[in-house]
């Protein structure tokens, strides 16, 4: 039983790290640009589908980790520059309508191009199989995902905490208007932030594809959970996204051990409980 719990806790952490990557982008965009991006899940799915295409053509998984985030990031920048930018300062409903519409349209385009049936995608041969440690199986690929996502998270943290750009982002999350009036070109910062957030979403799509498979609805499913993660961690908070992601991943996988049917609903129970105690989320800077 102890072995089972350890193995399951590890699975929960891997799952949690995928949530962390997605929630980071979602949370910063939300906190700084005041945009609730319903298309975030779409970029996760796009990442997976781009990886699928790239691997079918080149056979090289490693290439995906570089090329796919660049591609999704670029599409994100295009989206911000052509559409999203026109809606700043308008009622939040317009932004929801736009991103929601993009998410639906994107999903249908995926179905038209790739058909609705799921695709098979495997981890590179190097990470096939499992590592066996004192009676517990750890799939190699999941270990890899865990380490890579931690590395990326640390890089993001350094970027936000230690660089000048990061300081602008942090300030922007507190008060974008003030940052702008200090003479900083806030629209260029928004462009970069949105692109970065979409690049990371695409990257996590690549990482998740060999674990959970690829199908057109994958973005939709994970988006709901990531919203919960952001709410739990506190909107706009980087540390909150990490904490929230790991809490959700762990509670999902451990609850699945005793009561599988509750593994989705637990996310929202945890969210409700935390909102009751701390309405702004665990690390939230404002309500």
């Amino acid at each position: 039983m102890v072995n089972l719990i350890i193995a399951q806790a590890f699975n929960g952490l891997v799952l949690g790290m995928i949530y962390v990557l997605l929630a980071m982008g979602l949370s910063i965009v939300w906190g700084m640009m005041d945009i609730i991006n319903f298309a975030h899940g779409l970029f996760f799915a796009l990442g997976a589908y781009f990886a699928y295409t790239l691997v079918s053509v080149t056979g090289n998984f490693w290439l995906c980790l570089v090329v796919v985030p660049l591609a999704t990031g670029f599409i994100g920048i295009l989206l911000e520059y052509t559409l999203l930018r026109r809606l700043y300062g308008l009622n939040i409903l317009y932004q929801i309508l736009l991103t929601f519409g993009i998410a639906l349209a994107g999903r249908e385009i995926i179905i038209i191009i790739y058909n609705p049936i799921g695709k098979s995608f495997y981890p590179p041969d190097l990470f096939a199989g499992t590592i066996f440690v004192s009676g517990i199986f750890f799939p190699r690929y999941r270990v890899f995902v865990f380490l890579v996502s931690i590395a990326l998270t640390v890089c993001m943290w350094l970027f936000i905490e230690k660089t000048r750009y990061g300081a602008i982002i942090r300030a922007g999350t507190e008060d974008a208007e003030m940052v702008s009036s200090l003479g900083i070109n806030i629209s260029r910062v928004f462009l970069l932030i949105f692109g970065l957030s979409m690049a990371i979403a695409g990257f996590s799509g690549v990482l998740a594809a060999p674990i959970r498979g690829i199908e057109p609805y994958m973005g939709w499913l994970i988006l709901g959970i990531c919203f919960a993660v952001v709410v739990i961690g506190g909107m706009g908070s980087f540390a909150g996204a990490i904490l929230g992601g790991l809490i959700v991943g762990l509670s999902q996988s451990l609850v699945a051990l005793v009561m599988p049917s509750a593994s989705i609903v637990i996310v929202f129970i945890v969210m409700a409980a935390i909102l009751l105690i701390r309405p702004r989320g665990l690390m939230g800077i404002r309500d």
Binding site: N11, P116, F137
Partner: protein, 408 residues
């Protein structure tokens, strides 16, 4: 197939239509003359899932039915065939679309898939309206306790599926102990109950079960538990995309090093393509249909389907095709599109079909057909990209009518 409208029929129909308008009888009759002309089509409804986790159902049912119509020459009773497709993702939508078809469009022949609950809901409606329904779904109830005069079903129900596959696993792998992974809803529970019965009869052990919610994407906890149980065979009782994700993750975890893997109810080639041969070596599948079935009817069907769509037919296309052909043949046999007469012609109808000798049992409207076991090859043994496995056995297992609980 339309003969085109000449001056005479145009005058006739517009006169009737005009009269209808003047009389103001209301409803759809107002728009369309109620006179059956030679070119008045016989209409069919196809209600299935065109979106969501079961979207493959929509794609392939539609293809199967189109091919059946084409094979049949595009007309029945000398009238053109028209198929109307609707998305029926849940029971409520299923009944709503059936209502629209029957009451507004005057459709008398329905095909509905893939979920048992949707088929059951539409079956109740079809019986009330006295139209004909062909259901493509697995639950025992459809031709059991919930059977009715209007409803026919092509698939071997869970009872018979398990009675083909479980003994085959025992013989093929010498399995003594089983661990099951089950989706928590009617279909999964039916499969689990039957599996337990068969294992008890054969004196084998059922050492554990994990339930998972429908549409689960993260199977690590169930797989970790199954691996800890060290059963000879891990038996998957889920369906569609769930089986694909579950099996792929199981292989990721190295479950095959500990246990054999078998699946009770596969949809065949589409799932195999989604999983990939690498993960499936020696996996045993229970299937309603596999493209390698060795009958002249199937060979002709596979050739026609491959020519049309550039791939071998999956089970969903095959069942839709076979069901539609039967429906059309029975209408032709009855010589009328009167549902009562067609049902009479359908009952006890026996013929050589794509799965071998097939017979529609009159007492509960269940098709008596074979269920197949297919064992998968490794990637290096495959002769072509679709050669995922071979049929290693098949059988017909059905409850006697008295025991199905069906009363018509």
């Amino acid at each position: 197939m339309s003969k085109g409208i000449n001056r005479r029929t145009f005058l006739k129909s517009s006169a009737v239509g005009g009269l209808g308008l003047i009389a103001g009888t209301g409803g759809m009759g107002l728009m369309r003359p109620r006179v059956v002309r030679a070119e008045e089509p016989v209409r069919f409804l196809l209600g299935t899932s065109f979106s969501g986790a079961y979207a493959e159902s929509g794609l392939y049912t539609s293809r199967g039915i189109q091919l059946a119509v084409k094979t049949f020459g595009g007309s029945v009773l000398g009238r053109p065939i028209e198929v109307i497709e609707r998305d029926t993702p849940n029971p409520a939508e299923g009944v709503r679309k059936a209502q629209e078809a029957v009451e507004k469009l005057g459709i008398k022949f329905l095909t509905v898939s893939p979920s048992s609950s949707t088929v059951l809901a539409v079956a109740e409606y079809a019986a009330k309206k006295g139209v004909v329904l062909l259901g493509h779904a697995g639950s025992d109830k459809i031709t059991g306790s919930a059977c009715n005069k209007s409803t026919f079903r092509w698939q071997v129900p869970t009872w018979g599926a398990v009675r083909e596959v479980v003994p085959r696993i025992i013989d093929e792998y010498g399995a003594e102990s089983f661990y099951t992974i089950t989706p928590k809803y009617v279909f999964g529970e039916d499969l689990l109950r039957n599996t337990k019965e068969v294992l008890e009869q054969r004196g084998k052990k059922h050492i554990g079960n994990s339930d998972h919610p429908l549409g689960e994407t993260e199977y690590s906890s169930y797989i970790t538990k199954a691996m800890a149980a060290k059963a000879d065979c891990v038996f998957l009782l889920n369906f569609g995309g769930d089986t694909v994700n579950c099996l792929k993750q199981a292989v990721n975890f190295g479950l095959q090093k500990v246990s054999r893997i078998a699946c009770a109810w596969g949809s065949g080639i589409t799932q195999m393509k989604a999983i990939g041969a690498k993960a499936m070596k020696d996996v045993l599948w229970g299937l309603q249909y596999f493209y390698k079935i060795d009958t002249p009817q199937n060979k002709a069907f596979v050739a026609a389907f491959s020519k049309e769509y550039g791939e071998v037919p999956p089970y969903i296309a095959a069942s839709a095709y076979a069901g539609m052909i039967t429906m059309l043949e029975c209408i032709e046999k009855a010589g009328t599109d009167d549902p009562k007469k067609v049902i009479e012609a359908w009952e006890d109808y026996e013929y050589d079909g794509i799965t071998g000798r097939e017979k529609w049992r009159a007492c509960n409207h269940q098709l008596i057909k074979n269920y197949f076991s297919v064992k998968c090859k490794g990637p290096d043994e495959m002769q072509d990209p679709e050669d995922f496995g071979d049929i290693i056995g098949y059988s017909q297992n059905f409850l006697p009518c008295e025991e199905t609980g069906c009363k018509m």
